[in-house]
Amino acid sequence: MGCTVRLSPGPLAPDAELRDFLQIVAGKGAIVNFVGVARPVSQAGLPLTGLYLDHYPGLTERTLAGIAASACALFPVEDVVIAHRCGLVEPEQPIVFVGAAAMHRRAAFLAADYLMDRLKTDAGFWKREDDASGSHWIEPTGHDRQDRERWSQPHAGN
């Protein structure tokens, strides 16, 4: 079983990430992936010109590794990967790639779903949206916090 976490300021290529992950997980029947893309519109409803993910080297990687380890502990998955960008991301560019591989697809779906809900609230980033009105530091939405809460009940998400 393997947990892989990668944080990079460079572009993220989801197709290359998927190819690499499929090589790692050879023989496991079910692979679920999530790709998160920078939306073209800011929370204020203006065209987004850039999304900046500030990070604290060391601490940020540890938050990602902790989330990946929790997924492996909670669900019968064989392999988990989180590849995350930091720094300046252009609109419509990928920010995050998540993968979960399991013998059975239910576990892979639950683990990927869990990974994203945790990442959206607990990953060690500070996000700034740049639009025509200026730059705005943002926090998780109420929706993100609700999604995160789903997993605090035993067997949540079923």
Partner: protein, 84 residues
């Protein structure tokens, strides 16, 4: 008298600089002592380091206010996480 570099992230980095040196006259013993020493550096710094939503990190780990601080450790203050 000693110089302590403090790291700031997120909006605090915009406000106070991503790394800023402070004169720290006494030896702080806990994170709480460190917050009090830094607060004298100016209103903007005080507002940041006394805000209970702003967490302290020692050597890259988020810690509670009663955590010990030793000279030479990396100290950072971080706003609430945005998530990924």
């Amino acid at each position: 008298m000693a110089i302590q570099s403090i790291l700031f992230f997120g909006y605090l980095g915009d406000l106070l600089g991503r790394s800023r040196d402070f004169d720290v006259s006494d030896d702080p013993v806990t994170v709480r002592d460190m917050r009090r020493l830094l607060a004298s550096a100016g209103d903007d710094v005080a507002a940041a380091v006394l805000n209970p939503c702003v967490r302290a990190c020692v050597d890259g780990m988020i810690v509670r206010d009663d955590a010990p601080v030793r000279r030479g450790q990396e100290i950072a203050f971080i706003p609430p996480l945005s998530g990924g």
